[in-house]
C-alpha cells in the first residue's frame, strides 16, 4: 500500500530525517515509535505532502505520490490526522465531518459509522469544534479522516492529551477500523498501546530508522524494553 | 567596587546588546559620498531651472523617505500621513512666521514640535490598541484626508485651493533654485546622520529586536511600546521640520504639496524600492522615482499606466528593495567564495 524509500526532509535547509525507508502492506497496522524530536512528525509531513522532501520516493497504492501536493495526496486516499488536528474551529462537528468527504458530498452511512465509533461526537453534532475538549477534538479529527473513505490513515500521536481510558478506547476503535480493512500507520510515544495494535513497527531515533520488526519482536527486544517500556 | 572576575566579564558579554561596531568611516562614509555626489548636481544642471526644480523635489522626497523609514522601517508602523505631518509643519511654520511674525527658526521648531506630538499620538494609539499594519494605515489615512479637507476648508488661514504664499525665508518661487537645493540637501544629510546614529545606539538595537520578533523583544526587556512611540515621535518631528523648511525655501505651498496622492504614495514606493530599513534606500528610491517621473512626463496620457507597470515590474523583481537585494547578492558571492577556498 505504501512504500517509502530513501526519504530525507527537514526545516530551514537542514535535514531532520535522513534516508528513511519503510513499507506498509494492505490491511496492515504499522507503528513508528520514537522519543520526542526523533523525527516522526517530519516523516509524516513529508510523506503526506505538507513538507518538501530533499530526497526520496513515496509510492502509494502503486502510484508515485512523491511530487504531489497535500490535497492531491488526500484525494488519492491517504488520510492524515496530524498531532495538531487542524480542525475548523468555527464549524460544527457535522460540518467538519462533511468537509472530510470533500470533494464528494458526505455519505450518511459513513457518518453513522463514525458516530457509532465515537458516541460523544454524535451527542455534539451541532457544537462548534473549537469549543470541544482535546479528546473530543481528537475523535473528530479521526472521524473527519474517515469521511473520505481512505485506503490508508496516518495518525500522528493520536493519544496526545487523552486520559488513559480514552486512549485505550481510541485504540479499540482503531482495531475495529483495521478489522474492516483499513490500513493504519501510527506514530506513537505510548509504545505499549501501539505495539498492542500494530502488526509491525519501526523504531525511529535521531532522524533514522534504528530497528524494525514485528510487534512481538519489538516487544521482546531488550533495547526497546529499556528505552520505551520502562523495563530495566 | 567589585573585582572583575572572568565570570563577571562573561556575564557582561552575554547581556550586553550586540551593537554594530562600525568605524567612523564605515558609519558615515556612505553619507558623505552620497551627499558629495548629490551636491554636484547643480554644477552640471544648475542652468536649467526645470531640472533644478526636479532635483530639489528629489532631495525633498528623500528627506521624507528617511523620516518615513524611521517610523516604518524601524518599527513597522505604517503611517499613511507622511504628507499630512509635513503639511502640519509647513502650514504651521508659514502661518506663525508670516501672520504672527515669529522668527523663522522658532516657527520651524514649533512646527516640528506640533508634528512630533501628532506622531507620538498616533504611535500611542497603535501601541495601546494593538493596531496592526492595515489598521494603522487606515487611521493615519483618515488623518491625511482629514488634513486635506481642513486645508481646503480653512482658506482664511491656508489659502484653500489657491495655496499659501510664504514670505519668510528664501522666497524662490520663480527665482533661483540652487539655495533651496542646498538647504534641503543639508537637511537630508542631517537626517541621514540622525538615522545612522539611531541605528548605532541602543534605540536602534531595540528597533531591530522588535522588528525581528516582538514577543522575544518584550521578554528580553525591550519596552516595545516605548520604542514605537520614540520612532513615531522622531519620525514625525523630522517630517514636520522638513515640511516647514520646504515651505520657506519654496515660498509657496498648496493642496498638492502635502497630499496623500502627491506625497505618501510616492514615498512608500520610493522607500520600498530602495529598501525598507536601510540607510540609503530612501535616497536611492527618491532619486530613481524622481528621475522616472520626469522621464514619464513625456508620455503624457499614458504616464499613469507606465508608472503602474513600472511599480509592478520593480516590486516583482525587488521584493525587499534594491539595496537588500544587492546585499543578498554580495553575501551569496561571499559564501560561494568561502566554500571554494576553505581557509
Amino acid at each position: 500500500m505504501l512504500e517509502v524509500e530513501g526519504l530525507s526532509a527537514g526545516y530551514l535547509g537542514e535535514d531532520v530525517v535522513r534516508d528513511i525507508s519503510f513499507n506498509i502492506a494492505d490491511g496492515e497496522a504499522v507503528t513508528i515509535i520514537g522519543s520526542n524530536g526523533a523525527g516522526k512528525t517530519t516523516v509524516f509531513r513529508a510523506v503526506c505532502g505538507l513538507l518538501p522532501k530533499s530526497s526520496g520516493d513515496v509510492t502509494f497504492d502503486g502510484e508515485s505520490i512523491s511530487d504531489l501536493s497535500a490535497h492531491r495526496i488526500a484525494r488519492a486516499g491517504l488520510a492524515y490526522v496530524p498531532a495538531e488536528r487542524h480542525l475548523f474551529p468555527q464549524m460544527t462537528v457535522a460540518e467538519n465531518l462533511a468537509l472530510g468527504a470533500f470533494p464528494d458530498r458526505p455519505d450518511p452511512e459513513t457518518m453513522s459509522v463514525v458516530f457509532e465509533l465515537f458516541s460523544q461526537l454524535a451527542e455534539r453534532r451541532t457544537q462548534r469544534s473549537g469549543s470541544m475538549s482535546g479528546g473530543e477534538q481528537q475523535m473528530l479529527a479521526v472521524g473527519r479522516a474517515l469521511m473520505s473513505k481512505p485506503k490508508l490513515i496516518v495518525l500522528d500521536e493520536p493519544t496526545t492529551g487523552l486520559a488513559p481510558k480514552l486512549a485505550v478506547d481510541a485504540y479499540e476503535a482503531l482495531a475495529v477500523l483495521q478489522a474492516q480493512g483499513l490500513t493504519l500507520l501510527i506514530a506513537e510515544q505510548q509504545v505499549p498501546l501501539a505495539l498492542s495494535l500494530a502488526d509491525r513497527g519501526y523504531v525511529l531515533e535521531n532522524g533514522s530508522v534504528q530497528l524494525e520488526g514485528s510487534a512481538e519482536e519489538l516487544e521482546s527486544n531488550p533495547e526497546v524494553r529499556r528505552a520505551y517500556l520502562g523495563v530495566a | 567596587m567589585t573585582d572583575r572576575t572572568p565570570e563577571t566579564e562573561a556575564a557582561e558579554m552575554i547581556t550586553a546588546p550586540a551593537r554594530p561596531r562600525m568605524s567612523f568611516a564605515r558609519a558615515f562614509g556612505p553619507i558623505v559620498l552620497t551627499a558629495a555626489a548629490v551636491a554636484l548636481v547643480p554644477l552640471r544642471y544648475g542652468d536649467s531651472g526645470a531640472t533644478m526644480r526636479v532635483a530639489v523635489a528629489g532631495v525633498l522626497f528623500a528627506t521624507y523617505a528617511v523620516a518615513f523609514n524611521v517610523i516604518f522601517g524601524s518599527t513597522g508602523q505604517l503611517f499613511l500621513c507622511v504628507g499630512a505631518l509635513a503639511g502640519v509643519g509647513g502650514y504651521m511654520s508659514g502661518i506663525l512666521s508670516d501672520r504672527a511674525g515669529w522668527p523663522l527658526l522658532l516657527s520651524i521648531a514649533l512646527a516640528g514640535l506640533l508634528s512630533s506630538a501628532l506622531g507620538a499620538g498616533f504611535s500611542w494609539l497603535v501601541v495601546h490598541r494593538s493596531l496592526d499594519v492595515i489598521f494603522t494605515g487606515i487611521v493615519t489615512l483618515a488623518f491625511s484626508l482629514g488634513f486635506s479637507n481642513v486645508v481646503l476648508g480653512q482658506r482664511n488661514w491656508t489659502g484653500g485651493e489657491n495655496g499659501l504664499l510664504i514670505k519668510t525665508g528664501s522666497n524662490s518661487l520663480l527665482g533661483d533654485q540652487i539655495p533651496p537645493f542646498y538647504i534641503m540637501l543639508g537637511l537630508l544629510v542631517l537626517y541621514l546622520v540622525i538615522y545612522r546614529l539611531l541605528q548605532l545606539s541602543h534605540i536602534g538595537w531595540a528597533f531591530r529586536a522588535l522588528r525581528d520578533d516582538e514577543v522575544a523583544a518584550e521578554l528580553a526587556g525591550v519596552n516595545v511600546a516605548r520604542y514605537r512611540i520614540y520612532a513615531g515621535t522622531i519620525g514625525a518631528a523630522m517630517l514636520g521640520v522638513a515640511g516647514a523648511v520646504w515651505a520657506h525655501s519654496a515660498g509657496f505651498i498648496g493642496i498638492s504639496t502635502y497630499s496623500f496622492a502627491g506625497v505618501d504614495v510616492r514615498v512608500i514606493v520610493m522607500l520600498a524600492f530602495g529598501g525598507i530599513g536601510t540607510l540609503l534606500g530612501p535616497v536611492l528610491g527618491a532619486v530613481t522615482f524622481t528621475v522616472l517621473d520626469e522621464f514619464l512626463i513625456s508620455f503624457a496620457q499614458l504616464r499613469v499606466v507606465l508608472y503602474g507597470v513600472v511599480i509592478i515590474v520593480l516590486f516583482l523583481g525587488f521584493q525587499r528593495g534594491v539595496i537588500p537585494a544587492f546585499q543578498g547578492l554580495v553575501e551569496r558571492v561571499r559564501d560561494a567564495r568561502k566554500r571554494r577556498s576553505p581557509a
Partner: protein, 285 residues
C-alpha cells in the same frame, strides 16, 4: 428624514456589495486589493461600451460581470503568485504595492482611452411608494439586486459544499488541504468572484447615478472603509457595515454637506479600529 434614511439604505446595500469582494479576498489570502475600485469601473466601461455597440442591457451586464471575473482569475493566478510566497506583514505590503500598480494601470488606461465615458443604466417606470417614501425604480432594482446577491452569497457560504470549502481555507488552511481542498484554487476562484461582485456594484450604482471613469480610487477607499467597519473576512459584516455607512453618508450629506461626508466615513472607520478592531462581525486574528 425617512427619505434620507431610505436613500441611505439603498446606497448602503451597494456599499456592502462593494466591501464584500474586498473582505473575501483579504479573509482568504491576507491580500488587500487596491485595484478593487478600478476593477469595478472597468466593468462599468465594458458594459457601457457593449451597450453602445448595440447589445441589449442584460447581455452587456453579463459581459461586464464575466470579463471582470476572468480578470480577477487572471490577476490572482499571475501577479499574486509572488505575494502568496510571502507571509504576514510582508505579504500585505507587497499586495498593496502590486495592486496599487495594477490600479494605476487600469485607471490610467481608462482615463486615457475613455476619458469622458460613464455608465448610466436607466430603469424606466414610475416611482414606487414604499412606506410613504417615493423611490425611483432604479434605486429599487439596484437594491433588489444587491440584496439578492447578498442572499446568494450567504447561502453559498453556509450551505454549499464549495462555500464550506472556502470557509475551511479561511479557518485552517492546513486542515483544508488535508481534506483534499486546494487553497490556491480556492483563492483564485474567490478573486474572480470579487471581480464579478465589483462589476456588479458598478452596474447597480449606475442605476441610481452614473459611474465615471475616475471613480476608481474613491470606490477602493469606500470598499476599504466598509471592510474595516464590517470586519475583515465577514460577508454579513460587510453588508451590515455597508448599510450603516450608507445611512451615515446620506444623512451627513443632507444635513452637513458632501465635503464632510468623506471625513465622516473615514472617522467611522478610524473609530471602529480604535474601539472595536475586529469590526462589527469580524473575528480577532
Amino acid at each position: 428624514m425617512r427619505a434620507v434614511v431610505f436613500d441611505g439604505i439603498v446606497l448602503g446595500l451597494q456599499f456592502g456589495l462593494l466591501g464584500v469582494g474586498l473582505t473575501l479576498v483579504y479573509g482568504l489570502g491576507g491580500i488587500l486589493n487596491l485595484a478593487h475600485g478600478p476593477m469595478a469601473v472597468l466593468g462599468a466601461i465594458v458594459v457601457a461600451n457593449s451597450m453602445d455597440a448595440g447589445a441589449p442591457v442584460l447581455l452587456a451586464v453579463a459581459l461586464g460581470l464575466v470579463s471582470i471575473g476572468v480578470f480577477g482569475l487572471l490577476l490572482d493566478s499571475t501577479l499574486m503568485r509572488a505575494v502568496y510566497r510571502l507571509t504576514g506583514e510582508r505579504r500585505v505590503l507587497l499586495s498593496l504595492l502590486l495592486t496599487l500598480g495594477v490600479a494605476f494601470v487600469i485607471d490610467g488606461l481608462l482615463v486615457w482611452r475613455y476619458p469622458i465615458n460613464s455608465l448610466g443604466i436607466h430603469i424606466g417606470g414610475d416611482p414606487v411608494s414604499i412606506l410613504g417614501v417615493r423611490m425611483r425604480t432604479g434605486s429599487l432594482v439596484a437594491s433588489a439586486i444587491s440584496l439578492a446577491a447578498g442572499a446568494v452569497l450567504v447561502v453559498f457560504f453556509r450551505f454549499s459544499t464549495a462555500g464550506r470549502a472556502v470557509r475551511s481555507v479561511i479557518q485552517d488552511e492546513v486542515g483544508a488541504r488535508l481534506c483534499g481542498i486546494n487553497p490556491t484554487a480556492v483563492r483564485t476562484l474567490i478573486f474572480g468572484l470579487s471581480g464579478v461582485l465589483a462589476a456588479l456594484v458598478a452596474v447597480t450604482r449606475s442605476m441610481t447615478s452614473p459611474i465615471t471613469t475616475t471613480a476608481g480610487i474613491d470606490l477602493t477607499i469606500l470598499a476599504l472603509i466598509v471592510t474595516v467597519v464590517g470586519g475583515l473576512g465577514s460577508v454579513a459584516g460587510a453588508f451590515l457595515a455597508g448599510i450603516i455607512l450608507g445611512i451615515v453618508n446620506t444623512v451627513s450629506s443632507f444635513y452637513i454637506g458632501t465635503y464632510i461626508t468623506t471625513i465622516m466615513l473615514l472617522l467611522a472607520a478610524a473609530l471602529t479600529i480604535i474601539l472595536r478592531p475586529s469590526g462589527i462581525l469580524g473575528r480577532r486574528g
